[in-house]
Every structure is written in C-alpha cells, then in structure tokens.
Symmetry: C2
Subunit: 432 residues, 2 copies
C-alpha cells in the first residue's frame, strides 16, 4: 500500500524530544468526554494525564463534558416538570453538568500540586447565537485563558455551553463539547486538539463487523467528514467541519489506553495518500423509488418538495431515464421517516400520473472513502468486482470526489464490508 | 399582655382586599429553602403556590436554595478530589445546586401556564466581593428583573451565589439564600420578603422545650437578631441584619402549611410592644474564669488577646473587682473551643501571676428578649425571682438594651426556660 509511515507522528516521543531539546513550548486543547470523567477515580486519572503533559512544559487547556449519565438525569428531571421543557430553562439546567466536572478536575489538579482554574462557557466567554439547545459559537474571548496559561496554570473549560448576547445560557447540542474544544483550539491557535474518547482512534471500518479493522495513524478532514456522516460516530460532524474550516489539527485518542491515536489533518501534498482510508456503513437507510414519471422540467422538485416540506432529510438521490418520455427517480431517507415519506410519495405519484412507487426499508449503504481515489482510476471497478465476486447485488450507486456509496440488501452488510476491506488491503496498512 | 392585635396583618386576606379594590399591585420576594424544593413534587407545589400569588396580580420574584442534600453531596465529591478543596472551585461546584432548582421551577411554572424566567447569581447580576465560600453582596443590578416583571413574568433567582468584579463565581456561605432574598427585596424595593421554611413562624421559645410556646405574629428586627444570635435558627443572622439595614419587611412562613407566619418589622411607635417576646437559649457555651488577676490597666486585653489571636470567639464577658488589688475575669466561648481556650488561659495565668483558672463546660445560656424591656423596669427582677423560685443558681449575668442573659448549670436548661415562659405569660400572647 502507498500509505506512508514516514511522517507518522508518535505524540509522546515527539513531545519529549521537543522538550529535551528546548525547542518549543506547545499549546494543546484536551477534550475528555462523559465516560472519561464518569466518576471520581476517572476524573483523578484525567488529572494525572493532564499533569504529566503540563510537567513537560506544555500549555494545556482542558475541555470537559458532564459525567456520563448526568445530562440524561437532568433531562429526566426536566421532563417530570414539563412535558416539553422550555428550551431556555433546559439549557440553564443541563449546563450545570459540565460546571460540576470542571470544578472537580481543577480540585484534583490542585491536589496534585498543579495550578488550575475552571471556567464556564459564560466566563470564558464563549459567545453563541440564541438557538437554545443547539446554539452556534460566534466568538471566543481568549484573553483570560492566555493570561492564565502564561502564569503556568492549566485552564479547565466547561464544554457544550456558551452564552448569548443577552447573557442567556446556551448549549451546543449533544456532542457539543467536541465543538467547544475545536473552537477553543482555533481561537487559541493551539498546536493540536486532542479528543479523548473510549476508542483509541479512527479505524478502517467498524471492528465489530471486520475484526481485521486497523487503526489509522492519520486521516484527512474530508475523509473524516465522510466517515462521520456515514455513521462512524467517533467525532461529532460539526466539530470536524469546524476543525477543517479553522485548520485545527485534531487527534482522536483513548482516555484509558496509551497510544498516539489518529491525527486528522489536511491532506499533505508531500505524502502519497492511501487509495482508500476506510469503509463506512449506515444501517438506518430506506429506499423509495417512483417509476414512470413523465419526464418534464421541474419533476425532481415536484417529487422532493413535499418530502422536504415534511422535514424529512433525503440522503442519496439517483435519477435514470427509463424510456423516451418517462423517468425513474430513487432516493433514500432515514428509516424513522420511511412510512411518512412513502405515503407522501404515493400522493405525488397520483398527482404526477406516474406509474408506481416501490419502497424498501431493508437496505443498507456501504461506502469506501479516501482522498486517494481523486487521482487513481479503477477504484470503482475494484469495488464493484469485489461485491460481484460475493454475489452481492448493488441496488443503487452514488459517488462523490472522495467516496463511492452503494446500497445493498441489509443481509449482505457484513459480507460487503469484509469483502471491500480485503479488496483494498486495509488490514495491511502503512506497513505494506 | 400589652401585645396589640390591632395591626395584625393576615397576608392572604389583606392581599385579596387590595386586589379586589384595585388599590395596589405588590412586589414580593419569596424564598424557598432546600427542604421546600427537595424533590420533584415539592418543586411543583412551590410552583402552584407562586402561580396562585401571581394570579392575584402581584409581581413575584422567587429565590431558591439547592435541593436539600445536594450541596452536601457536591461538597462530598469535592472532598474526594482534594482534602481541602480550593475555595474558588468549591464555589463553581456548589453554585450548580441552585442553578438546577431555578431551571426546574421555571419549567414547572411554564407547565402551569405561568411565564417565568430563571437567573443565576451571575446573570442577575449579584456583585459580591471575592471572599469565596463567604462572599458579601456589594451591588445588585435590578434592570433585567424589573423588565421581566413588567412583562408579567415570574422571575426565579438562584440564591446563595454571586459573581465578583473579575467574573468569578462566589457563594455567600450556608444560609446565603436568605441573604440573596433580602438583598433582592431591598434592591427591588419589594413590599415584603417571604422566607418559606419548615417552621410556620418565630416562636416565643423552642416548642420542643416548652410545648406551650406560641407563634408570634410579629417581632422586631432587634428582637429577631437577638433570638437568632442566641440560637433560634429560623433565619440566618446576616439576612436579618441586612433586612434591618435596608428596611425590608421580612415574613417567616411555612412552605407546607397555610398561615401568615411571623412578620419581622421595625418597632412601630404607635403600638405598645410586649415586654418580652421570647426566650432563647444556647447549649453550646463553656465558661472560663481567671481569678486573682493583678488589677492593672490593660489586663482585659492581656487576657483576651491570646484568645482572639487563636481565632476563638468570645461571647459573654464579666469582670468583678474581687478585693483591693486583684480582679476576677469570666468569659464564655463555644464548647468546641473550650480546651484550646482553657490552655491558653492557663498560660496567661502564669504570665500575669494570677491566682488560678476555673473552667466549666456544662453550662448553658438562657436569655429573655424584648424591645419592651427598654421602657419597663422590673423585668430583671421578675426573671431572677422566677429562677430563684425553682432553685436555679445563676452563674453569670449579662445584659443588653433588649436582652438579659444568664448562665446556669446545663441540667437546669428546660426548667429555666419553662419557668421564664410562665413568668412572662408568653403562652397567652396578644389575646391577653
């Protein structure tokens, strides 16, 4: 394989070299999720990890989620109060979860003799719009954090939360702590943003489906975005977009195991990229087809308009000319929306005088992702050949610049993933 | 008895009269403690009570404590992190308790169709000094609260917390929610500040000691201060001082029972006050005496200086000339400080060449309190006579303008309280 190891970057060794040679003091943003701060012992373990990095002379900003289960506990209380909790108040309530963990971690750091100072989103301040429960960050004041870092303190920031222009508390939506970490890394011009999770990196595919799946040392932002949107739930997609936009080097690592994780970076021109980085899949798809639609201008809008109006998200869209005067139109939706989409489409079918609607909710989408396919022909044919060799019928195909997705029957999911993993020799990785 | 009922003020009737006659819209600050918001059902009950008052047309600001047990739970977590938790971080941590309850109550009010908006101390904002865990309020911005009240909303404020000039979260110390409520009532020029607790008012003495103890309809600030400082734990003493200073009418009521509670007001000149309002007592005292001290200028300072330097608070102080050249000096301290104070005093005894130190930690202080004693002679003799009639030996006497305290042997506490309660006919109250 062409995946090069030349620039592989083992964090801790690298760091120690830098420090022993006195070359550089780095600034890192570390983000720990709810599982990593799930109890007193784990918070203490995080403190040990942070202190170790700080002792090397780095400047460390830590972003924390709430203790695992806490946000759900608070939402449970809210729902006992109000069937549909007022969103402003829900944000006031659930933002307490991170406020608790940042205070506790700061104490644990003090106990280890490491100066630390906690900040809520409001204190930083992390200015957002006023979309309660799903706010977007507008601006981050970094003065106080830099001042603290320059006096040698570790700064501990509550993830997931901010404050709007009027001083109302806001939250960024589930997984928003990743977004906080990336936004802080961008604002502070951090060297790297480390996302500590319960997995030790990004894999070529889900190891539960293909045990030969291999951890990637690095992956590009574009590939990560495709992997994330295709159901690889390592990182929240918004935080990856944010990192790409602001050129933040993201690293996914395990909170519990040592290792250098997976670095998510811009594609670097001097390195030959792997053809294919990974195989993603999505079990939540359903497919809808309307056939024999009179082929007139605006027909796609007439078909998808009612679907969009019903707030149903459409994923893949394929249109074929069936014969001279009619067209077939196929798209996929989330399985939760399958029944609603189907009945809307049946109404459209009658309105347009189309032939019929066929629908299938036992299909899955399997995708190969890799920036390398931009410059290499033959990727698609390798993919189709591998699936054909296993007798897997392809029901639908969609492509983007760095991704090819196929829809296959649900029963073939594992077989398809393993066949593709083998065909692209993903288990061999950079040693190849 | 001369305690007049003429101006007794039954809140709910009074309010309804005002509203039906369209005379006045009142502004009330309601404070509910931890027991009153201890679980989901109780928060809902508070919402019902608040809505009822709001429906009458009043403007209502609610101040809440954390759910009972929550602050202790958080402190427990803190102590697992750090033997002596950093105070700044402790305040970040424990201030979440009230943030949770204000959000939940606002939701419960919305569910009842009553518009409400929650505020943290930082949002109000309640500006304090930077003395973490025991901050003092400096200034309250009332603009946003008045704006919300004027649009018909109930405003729900987190008690116990504030923010300093640098934006650090502070807390006001245990019982600080009372202080928040009173300070808000002063800033907003509220008509009354209602403190809802698990008792239904201020009693002539502790009903557990004297079952004939009677709830007072009203009590003056000065009397309340003496009662509070003498161990009647209905209100935090700071909040009473604050209320007196800013002329806030305080009312103590039960969260669980209907009733008009006890109104704490300025002494009003047109009403004849009761001679004695109540009997307070304190079981936590210990008595120290140094005898045969050479009677020279500065001797009191030489005795109490080392005690003050050791941060031991002294309560009562009595000095007698024993003979021509020496003096006896007695004071009381909290029993927790008894051993330390005793050994300090023994050192002082040697230094000064005094005769000896005697000490006793099985004594209690019993006090009669009442603004009426200012203008009535004979109160002290009634008191001493009542104690003598029961054979109770008085070990020490101290007086202030509205209080007479005696120290007696611990075993006589209940007997002394009941004897005094009867002697001053406190069980008969304003009907007398």
């Amino acid at each position: 394989m062409v995946y090069q190891k030349a620039k592989t970057f083992y964090h801790s060794e690298f760091e120690e070299t830098l420090h022993t040679t006195g070359l550089k003091m780095a600034l890192y943003v570390y983000k720990f999720g709810g599982t990593s701060v799930g109890n007193v012992e784990r918070i203490k373990a995080v403190a040990e990890k942070v202190k170790k990095a700080h002792d090397l002379g780095d400047q460390i900003v830590v972003v924390l989620s709430a203790m695992s289960g806490e946000t759900n506990r608070l939402i449970g209380l809210a729902k006992q109060m109000q069937v549909h909790p007022t969103e402003r108040e829900l944000d006031v309530l659930i933002s307490t979860g991170e406020q608790v963990t940042v205070a506790l971690l700061s104490m644990a750091l003090h106990e280890l003799g490491c100066e630390a100072c906690s900040y809520t989103g409001s204190q930083v301040k992390i200015l957002t719009d006023s979309s309660y429960t799903k706010a977007r960050i507008r601006k981050i004041d970094d003065d106080r954090i830099h001042a603290d870092l320059n006096t040698g303190k570790v700064v501990v920031v509550a993830g997931f939360q901010g404050i709007d222009e009027q001083g109302n508390i806001t939250t960024l939506g589930r997984g928003g702590s990743d977004t906080t970490a990336v936004a802080l890394a961008a604002a502070l011009k951090a060297d790297e943003c480390h996302i500590y999770t319960d997995v030790d990196g990004v894999y070529t595919t889900d190891p539960r489906v293909e045990p030969k799946a291999r951890r990637l040392d690095r992956i590009t932002f574009e590939e990560m975005l495709e992997m994330a949107s295709l159901g690889s739930k390592v990182l929240q997609i918004r935080s990856v977009e944010f990192a790409g936009k602001y050129n933040v080097a993201l690293r996914v690592l395990s909170s519990f195991k040592e290792g250098c994780g997976t670095l998510i970076t811009y594609e670097e021109s001097q390195m030959e990229s792997a053809l294919i980085s990974g195989i993603a899949f999505n079990r939540d798809e359903a497919k809808l087809t309307i056939t024999g639609v009179p082929d007139l201008p605006g027909v796609a809008f007439k078909i998808l308009g009612p679907i969009a109006d019903a707030n149903i998200e459409v994923d893949m869209i394929v249109q074929n000319i069936a014969d001279d005067a009619t067209t077939d139109f196929t798209f996929t939706v989330h399985r939760n929306d399958y029944q609603r989409a189907k009945s809307l489409l049946e109404q459209t079918c009658a309105t347009l005088g189309a032939r019929k609607v066929t629908a299938d909710d036992s299909i899955v989408k399997v995708s190969i992702v890799g920036v390398g396919m931009r410059s290499h022909a033959g990727i698609a044919s390798t993919m189709f050949q591998a699936l054909a060799a296993e007798g897997i019928n392809i029901r639908m195909i969609a492509t983007s610049e760095i991704k090819i997705s196929v829809v296959v029957d649900e029963k073939y999911l594992e077989l398809a993933v393993r066949a593709l993993h083998a065909a692209f020799k993903l288990e061999q990785g950079s040693e190849d």
